[in-house]
C-alpha cells in the first residue's frame, strides 16, 4: 500500500497490546477445563483452559503451586483466578494463575480428600492442638457474612442465652471468588484485635461449591494459626468441612455454635440460686445442729451431775434433819418420863408426906433420933409434925 500509513514495529504493537490487555484484565476469574497440562522441570505449570467455544493459555508459577489443593490434570474442570499477561516473544497472551480450585463436584470431592489427607499428615487436625473453649467468654468474635442468615441465627441465640457478651463481627464474603482469603484475613484480624475469648467461623448451609471457601487450605491454616479458640459452624449438620477438622470445636450449625459458645443465663442464674440455697441450708443445718448439740449437752448426765448431787445432798440433809428431829423428841420424852417417875419416887420418899399421914420425927441436937436407946430421961428433944415442931423433955419411966 502506501508508506504514509502509520507503521509501527511488531515490538511496539505488541507493547501496546500488552499494556492494553494487562491493564484491562488485571484480575479475572475463569472457569474451564484443563488440557495440554505440562509440569515443566522448572516447576512451573503450563496448560490450556478451554470451554466449548474458546481456549486460553495458562501458566502457574512454581511459587504458587504449593497452595494448590489438588493435582491438576487434563480434563479437570477448574475455576482459576489470575491476570492476563502478554508474552511478546511468542506473541500470545496467557492467564497468569494465582489461585485455582476444582469446579466440578467430582473434582471438589477429590480436592477435599487430598487436602484433608495432606493437612491431617501435617497434624493440623491433631487433638493436642485443640484449644479449650472458654466456659465464660466475655467477648466473641464472629467471622461470617454480614447479610447471611447464619449471623442472625448466632446473634439471636447469643441475645437469648447470654446477652451480657460482647460481639465483634468481622464481616466477610463466605462464597465465591476471594472468599477464602477474606475469611483467613478476618481470622487474623480478630487475633490482632485482642480481647476476644472465642470466635465462631462459619456460614449457613449450601452446596459443596457454596461451602468451598471453608475447604480451602488458606482458611484451614488461618484457623490453625489462631491463638483464639475457633468454633467452626459450616453448613449442614452432616457435612464436614476442612475448617471443621481444623477448628478447636465443630458445631453442626451456626446456632449450635452460639449455643456452645455461651452458657445459658437462665441456667447460670439457677445454678447460682442453687448454690445460694446450698449455702443457706448448710448454715441453717449447722446452726440447728449446734443448738441440738448444746441442748443435748445440757440434758446430758454429766452436765446434770452437779445439780443432781446438790439435789441428793439436800435430800439427805432433809432426811438427816428429820431423823435428828425424831431422835431428839425421843430423848426428850424419855427424859421427861424418867423425870416424872423420879419425881414420883422422890415424892414418895418425902418425909413431909409421911408426917402428914400422922407420923412425926424426933430430933435431938440436930440429929434425927431413930432409936429409943438414943434418948435418956431429961433429954431435950424436938418433935417435928407436918405443920410444925414442939420441944419436949424426955422422961423414961415405966
Amino acid at each position: 500500500m502506501s508508506t504514509d500509513k502509520n507503521v509501527v514495529t511488531i515490538t511496539e504493537l505488541t507493547r501496546q497490546i500488552k499494556q492494553s490487555l494487562e491493564t484491562g484484565f488485571p484480575r479475572v476469574w475463569v472457569e474451564g477445563e484443563i488440557s495440554n497440562y505440562k509440569k515443566h522441570t522448572s516447576g512451573h505449570l503450563y496448560f490450556t483452559l478451554k470451554d466449548e467455544g474458546a481456549q486460553l493459555s495458562a501458566v502457574m508459577w512454581r511459587s504458587r503451586v504449593p497452595y494448590l489443593a489438588f493435582p491438576p490434570e487434563d480434563g479437570m474442570k477448574v475455576i482459576a483466578r489470575g491476570s492476563i499477561t502478554v508474552y511478546p516473544p511468542r506473541g500470545n497472551y496467557q492467564l497468569d494463575i494465582e489461585q485455582m480450585q476444582p469446579a466440578g463436584i467430582g473434582e471438589l470431592q477429590l480436592a477435599f480428600e487430598r487436602l484433608k489427607k495432606k493437612l491431617a499428615a501435617e497434624g493440623l487436625f491433631d487433638a493436642e492442638h485443640k484449644k479449650p473453649i472458654p466456659e465464660f467468654p466475655e467477648c466473641i468474635g464472629i467471622v461470617t457474612s454480614e447479610t447471611g442468615a447464619a449471623l442472625q441465627d448466632i446473634l439471636s441465640v447469643l441475645s437469648r442465652r447470654q446477652p451480657s457478651v460482647n460481639v465483634i463481627l468481622a464481616p466477610v464474603k463466605v462464597q465465591g471468588a476471594g472468599s477464602a482469603e477474606e475469611i483467613a484475613e478476618a481470622i487474623k484480624q480478630l487475633n490482632q484485635y485482642g480481647g476476644i475469648d472465642v470466635m465462631i467461623v462459619g456460614r449457613g448451609g449450601g452446596s459443596l461449591e457454596d461451602l468451598w471457601a471453608f475447604n480451602e487450605e488458606i482458611v484451614a491454616r488461618a484457623i490453625y494459626a489462631s491463638k483464639i479458640p475457633v468454633i467452626s459452624a459450616v453448613g449442614h449438620e452432616i457435612d464436614f468441612s476442612i475448617s471443621d477438622f481444623t477448628a478447636d470445636l465443630r458445631a453442626p450449625t451456626p446456632s449450635a455454635a452460639a449455643e456452645i459458645a455461651v452458657r445459658d443465663r437462665k441456667e447460670l442464674l439457677e445454678e447460682i440460686s442453687n448454690l445460694y440455697y446450698t449455702m443457706n441450708d448448710a448454715m441453717k443445718n449447722r446452726i440447728s445442729g449446734l443448738r441440738e448439740h448444746i441442748s443435748g449437752l445440757l440434758a446430758s448426765y454429766t452436765f446434770n451431775r452437779p445439780r443432781d448431787m446438790v439435789r441428793e445432798f439436800s435430800q439427805r440433809v432433809d432426811e438427816m434433819e428429820r431423823s435428828i428431829g425424831i431422835s431428839l423428841n425421843h430423848i426428850v420424852q424419855t427424859v421427861n418420863r424418867r423425870f416424872d417417875s423420879l419425881k414420883n419416887q422422890l415424892q414418895a420418899l418425902n418425909p413431909h408426906g409421911v408426917l402428914k399421914r400422922g407420923y412425926s420425927i424426933v430430933h435431938k441436937g440436930g440429929r434425927i433420933i431413930s432409936s429409943e436407946r438414943l434418948l435418956h430421961s431429961g433429954d431435950e428433944a424436938e418433935i417435928q409434925f407436918h405443920d410444925g415442931s414442939v420441944g419436949v423433955r424426955v422422961e423414961k419411966g415405966r
Binding site: P134, E135, F136, P137, E138, E146, L155, L158, S159, P163, S164, V165, N166, V167, I168, L169, A170, P171, A186, Q189, L190, Q192, Y193, D197, R265, L268, L269, E271, I272, S273, L275, Y276, T278, M279, A282, M283, N285, R286, L290
Partner: protein, 79 residues
C-alpha cells in the same frame, strides 16, 4: 482466694469460688467462725454474679478495614 485462672473473666472466677464455698459449707468441716465468713463471702458473690448476668444487652461491634488497611470499629446497635 483460689488461684487466678483467668483474671479478666471474673464471672468464671466468681462462680468457681462460689462453688467452692458452697461445697465447703456443705461438708461442714471448717470451723464455725470461718464458716460464717465464707457464708458472707458466698452471699456477696452470688449477688454479684446475679447482677453481672442481669446487666447489659448484647453489644455488637463491627470490624472493618479502613483505607489504610487499619482496623476500625463501627459501633452498631442491635435490637
Amino acid at each position: 482466694m483460689v488461684a487466678k485462672k483467668s483474671e479478666k473473666n471474673s464471672l468464671e472466677h466468681y462462680l468457681q469460688r462460689l462453688q467452692e464455698i458452697a461445697e465447703s459449707l456443705e461438708q461442714g468441716e471448717v470451723p464455725l467462725d470461718e464458716a460464717v465468713n465464707l457464708y458472707e463471702e458466698g452471699i456477696k458473690l452470688s449477688k454479684e454474679c446475679t447482677e453481672k448476668l442481669k446487666t447489659a444487652e448484647l453489644k455488637i461491634k463491627k470490624l472493618s478495614k479502613g483505607i489504610e488497611d487499619q482496623l476500625a470499629l463501627n459501633e452498631t446497635e442491635e435490637e
